[in-house]
Amino acid sequence: MKIAIASGKGGTGKTLLSTNLAAWLALSQPVLLVDLDVEEPNDSIFINGKEESVTSFYTMVPEWKPRQCTLCGLCSEVCKFHAVIQLGDRIAVFDDLCHSCYACSELCPTGALPMRKFKSGEVRSLSSGNLRFVESRLEVGREQPVPLIRYTHELVDSRYSDVVIQIFDCPPGTSCPVVAAVGRADLVILVTEPTPFGLNDLKLAVDTMRILGKRCGVVINRQGVGNDSVIEYCKQERLPVIAGISFNRDIAGYYARGELAFDKIGTVAEALRQIMEFALTPVNDGI
């Protein structure tokens, strides 16, 4: 079972829930945690383990070979991403703008733009008891998280298909990185907070999940700081509210120091139990 933890708004508690859920489940069964917030991965702050492997992730970009080039200009004309531009008597390649479509490279009549590897990120695998942990990290300066996220899914499917419960910590937002990260998740847990910002972004996230046809449940973090509008919205939309975690400075404190909280704070443990109860309830009504 693949469970994605997503949110729309950043800073609502995705990492808190993902890491605590994984560590708690690992007390009794094998579990896999995958950090797909590749721009700012944080799960490794909370999860320790023995490093099992580090895999570099490469995208392919063209490399200009001036000696073969006739300066016909076709490459610069075909590139829709302005990654290959003819500047006078040279061809400039902007690696970060390249989408690896190969058009310039394969259409070049003289083979002057062979593709080469370009490091875009790294995937680390760790292990600790029942817990398997995979972290994907985008190199700073790279614009596109999606290829790394897709690659991570493929890697997880090839290495960890035997682990029944898989938790995916997703990036914030509602566009392509989140769509790629929720991937083939059976269930998406949307973490929000009871504030106007939380509500606004929850609505956007729900719209995206509905387009993707995902089963969703909502967890309300920092209950008590705002108002009831999130609960009312969930009722109206028949979105199941799975759990609520009351605002508590101690939770913030453990989080700040990079420590797990489920073994110290009852409301966190209770929320985790409710999430798993929901996850394991047979589906009869999605969103």
């Binding site: 729309g8 708004k9 950043g10 800073g11 609502t12 990492t15 721009e39 700012e40 944080n42 702050i45 075909v78 829709k80 991403f81 970060d96 989408h99 690896s100 479509c101 190969y102 058009a103 394969e106 259409l107 985008l138 700073v140 300066g141 790279r142 614009e143 596109q144 998280p145 990036p171 914030p172 937002g173 509602t174 566009s175 392509c176 990185p177 769509v179 504030t195 106007p196 910002f197 606004n200 972004d201 956007l204 719209d207 995206t208 387009i211 993707l212 700081v225 705002g226 108002n227 400075r249 913030a252 404190g253 989080y255 700040a256 120091r257 990079g258």
Partner: protein, 295 residues
């Protein structure tokens, strides 16, 4: 006349970017144009109450469309597509829209010229009057759309045009979390970055990464430590990081539930009586000095 562009970023989400950006917008009144470049999950409108006065669709990127009448089923398009966006469905080569990156390779190689590249709707851009007496440019990403970087670039361009037309010298930009394409798009051409962080290990980790990105662009930066009293040890670590990297330390703002209270009333914290409001007023004073020195 030069428009001084200030981008508010954080790396980590939920540290208070939008609350800070909207506060500065209110303090700036009619002197600054405002741009909400977090088009993925825009929130600034909830505090600045724009009138959505002018709107237009924005097409960013392209999408391949196959003319089935012309297609001779040779399959070359599917062979060259690196995104696996073309597959044979019921005997017809079909574009899987979410996977199409719009590179146009298939259209170039099709021997029957059966593939056309169409503009793809990326979202809607709004140019609004806001209650601070100024103009805000914001956007809504089309559901499921990609390419938020291009929409961000459009929002900034529109805001620049507004600034030019109205003779404004300051542009305040609320950025997205993370370090990817929408963030990079909001950074190019910026003169100053305000980083909003909080005293936690994850926020510090993310601050280090966003700072590396900003350094690549050689843009000077300042930092606001929000909720600084939640963990004094981490606050001290962040302060060390700031001085080591020559980042201006702009303010330490205490944790204050009035931020949420103000948000519920659709107001910014500077419109309430609060220490946080006073601290942000001081940040605004510092910012004005920077602008006077630079423009």
């Amino acid at each position: 006349m030069m428009v001084y562009e200030v981008v508010i970023l954080s790396g980590k989400g939920g540290t208070g970017k939008t609350s800070v950006a909207a506060s500065l917008a209110v303090l700036a009144g009619s002197s600054a144009v405002v741009a909400d470049c977090d088009v993925d999950a825009a929130n600034m409108h909830l505090l600045l109450r724009p009138d959505f006065g002018r709107r237009y669709p924005f097409y960013g990127g392209e999408l391949a469309v196959i003319d089935q009448e012309r297609c001779n089923r040779c399959g070359l398009c599917a062979d060259v597509c690196r995104f696996r966006a073309i597959s044979l469905v019921n005997g017809r080569y079909t574009i899987q829209e979410p996977d199409c990156e719009g590179c146009g390779y298939c259209a170039r190689v099709c021997p029957e010229q059966a593939i056309a590249m169409r503009d793809r709707l990326s979202g809607t851009v709004f140019v609004s009057a806001i209650r601070s007496g100024s103009t805000m440019v914001h956007a809504r990403l089309a559901a499921g759309a990609e390419n938020s970087g291009k929409l961000v670039a459009r929002v900034r361009q529109e805001a620049r045009e507004v600034a030019d037309l109205s003779g404004l010298r300051l542009m305040l930009i609320d950025g997205a979390p993370g370090i990817g394409c929408p963030v990079i798009s909001s950074l190019s051409g910026a003169h100053y970055v305000i980083l909003v962080t909080e005293p936690s290990q994850p926020a510090l980790h993310d601050l280090e990464r966003i700072h590396r990105l900003i350094r690549n662009f050689r843009i000077p930066a300042g930092c606001i430590i929000n909720k600084h009293d939640l963990d004094r040890e981490k606050t001290a670590q962040i302060r060390d990081f700031l001085s080591l990297n020559q980042i201006d330390h702009l303010a330490d703002i205490p944790y204050d539930e009035r931020f949420t209270g103000a948000m519920i009333e659709e107001k910014t914290i500077v419109e309430t009586e609060s220490p946080a409001g006073q601290l942000l007023s001081r940040v605004w004073d510092l910012l004005q000095m920077k602008i006077i020195n630079k423009t």
